[in-house]
Amino acid sequence: MASLESNFLGIKSPNPFWLASAPPTDKKINVLRAFEAGWGGVVWKTLGSQVKNVSSRYSAVNFGGHKMMGFNNIELISDRPLDLNLKEIKECLKLFPDRAMIVSLMADNDKKSWHELIKKVQDTGAHGLELNFGCPHGMTERGMGAAVGQDPEIACMVVEWVMEAATIPVITKLTPNVHSVVPTGRSVVKAGTNALSLINTIQSVTGIDLDTLVPNPYVAGKSVFGGYCGPAVKPIALKMLTTIAQDDVTNKVPISGIGGVSTWKDALEFMLLGASNVQVCTAAMNHGFRIVEDMCEGLNNWMDEKGFKTLSDFIGKSVEKITHWEDLDINYHHIAKINQDKCIHCGLCYIACEDASHQSINLEYGKPYNNYTVKDEECVGCNLCKLVCPVNDCITMEEHRVAPEYINWIEWQKRGLPLNDH
């Protein structure tokens, strides 16, 4: 049996699943329930500046009958008294000494405030600190959260203050509300952060109430941009993670992956793209802490099947598989094939290809069932038919190389090979 044990900057946890800094980690009662359910660690909801929350706070995007495909919030950092939080952190640490306890911080924008806060938190015995440079609402207007993360120089300065006082590992959490996460990432690594975590939430409007015409979430007839997260943001998070994992400066520190992780498969994808562990929030807010059971079992079974003994055996394995477009092999070609025994004659492949792709599917009318076959010579291998097909493995992509040798775009141009020839 594989070991799920995780070691992040020396912070050990029985598995790589931490709960992200958010409502599920804002007090003892939740955190104890999470530990009882089996979570490897928590990042305690951000402590720091004084705040006041509003009502309501959350809204969601539903899709095709599924709730919470995307989720957003306009909640601020912890609105509980600092001393109470510190006391409860201590109690949780005592009850579950084998779990990771990281505390998220966002102090007022001066060195003294950061130093005072760090000292108090370190006194609890917490294992690490996470700097919240990402919260996109409420705090930014006061020069905190994303306002720090969006400016590499300010971020650098704050990390330098933090590192002067920190005696435990420091993780800097990056905001995705930038054109690239790399500049801030590099800046804070240079300033001495021990690790990075990403992504925080993405500024968003989830929808509008079509009766009142007020966007969500509703607060007395108004709304504001909220931080978007949940399954919908995973692809964006994975891309940002990859840029950090591929950059020569930022990939020198461990990364904690965040953004729409709901299952062991999602977690694996983050880890394959360079995350040493993952943090989860929306999935737990949707279904409760019990989801960690399948995350552990699924990851374990996958590792056993693939023969991986420890997490470090596979972390980062897919990073090198994401390359630049001009390095792709132009001679690679594949063609869709429709398995006629599996086909249910829904026509979804046909209409997608006909209206939106390359008119490569032949329709033979029948009553009531039409037959669909691929015109091999027209198919560009785009995958669209396979993606829309409701039947597993009914449409497969079969490799038909144009030529045996690898050739990329640069070489193609050099040799004057034909362009615009489809």
């Binding site: 095709g64 009958g65 086909c343 249910i344 004659h345 829904c346 026509g347 979804l348 046909y350 209409i351 329709l363 009318y365 009553k367 009531p368 069932y369 039409n370 409701p390 039947v391």
Partner: protein
Amino acid sequence: MSITNNRLSKEQYAENFSDIHPTFETADAALVEANRCLFCYDAPCMKSCPTGIDVPKFIKQITTENIKGSAHTIFTSNIMGAGCSKVCPVEKLCEGACVYNFMEEEPISIAKLQRYSTEKAMAANWQLFKRKNSTGKKVAIVGAGPAGLSCAHVLSREGIDVTIFEKESKGGGLMTYGIAAYKVTPQFCEDEVNYILGIGGIEIKYNQELGKDFSLTELKKNFDAVYLAIGVGVARRLDIPGEKLEGVIDAIQFIYEIRANGYSTVPVGDKVAVIGMGMTAIDAATQAKRLGAKEVTLVYRRTEAEKPCTDVELDIARLDGCEIIWLAAPVKIKGAEGKVKQLVCSVMKLGEPDASGRRSPVDTGETFALNVDMVIKAAGQVPFEKLVKKYRLENKNGKISLKDKAATNIKGVFAGGDAVNGGKEVVDAVQAGKDGAASILSYLRIKN
């Protein structure tokens, strides 16, 4: 044994004849089902609907909470879409064709979703079609059944002034008078007719029978065109001894009485035999049981594999406690004092396939007798042959013959529905009405 009415309490009647096809009780339930729909292209369900309802579109519209649009999509193809969602044998039409069947998954509950949208439209009386300005043309329609109403609605939309002549006192035809009340309640039928008439431009003259109260010649003189949607008449004769005994009744007549007169007034035997295995036979048998008959036995000369009704229908009969005897052909009804006492049947076996492609029943020479006090005949219906011949309409055994989709041999006279096809589903009649309207519009040189 006796044939009597008023066998049950008011509450029992109400329970036995309540709607067996309720729609989704909540919007959430409808959404869960609607979201299962794959939104097929050139969808098999749509192609299996005689009226060609764009099923994926109306279901998609439920998911976007555009119920008005959903109802419009249904009614555009089938103005009786509400009724059809209750009486269609969907297991052999749209739902039978659903691609989920290939995945060994339950097909989409198309009928139930169709009820959801159409019932909302009827309840709110959303009039989704606007009648064009009057063209001044007048069309007479004989029969306010599905074919007649469907034809009338299309014509009215195009600005034709329509007058329907109906021999009964209510509209809806067999929907109102010929289908089990637990499938479409009398109130629903009345509501549906009123909803259709909501467009305006359609007048129904009730209690007006062709050949009795008015003639085809008069209609031809007073109207620009005539559409005959007169349906079919009584049940086919068995041509066996004892058919005239008291207690032998025509299924259509039996169902008519239930629908027209109220449940408690209709007499039913203690032990009832129903001859036939079509939809009407099932409707007669189940309703006889629901009226309080102690034993109901369906007798059919072929096997379950050849039965004309659907599995779903047969299940209703079985669940109602009806007995079924396969491979049994009635040869004689025995009586005493003029009343039915026994139904004697031949035991059959299957022989070679006949013209319908089904193996034909062959007499084995053996017989058996059922002790019954009532025999309901439901072995198909016969057309109004006399009437059709009287007006020199070209026909085949009383079924009106058509040139193209709706024109008869008489200029300006069109026909459709059961009178032409001999008796099919409501949904087929609705399509016939649309075809009739299209032919009439083209005859009147009105573009639609």
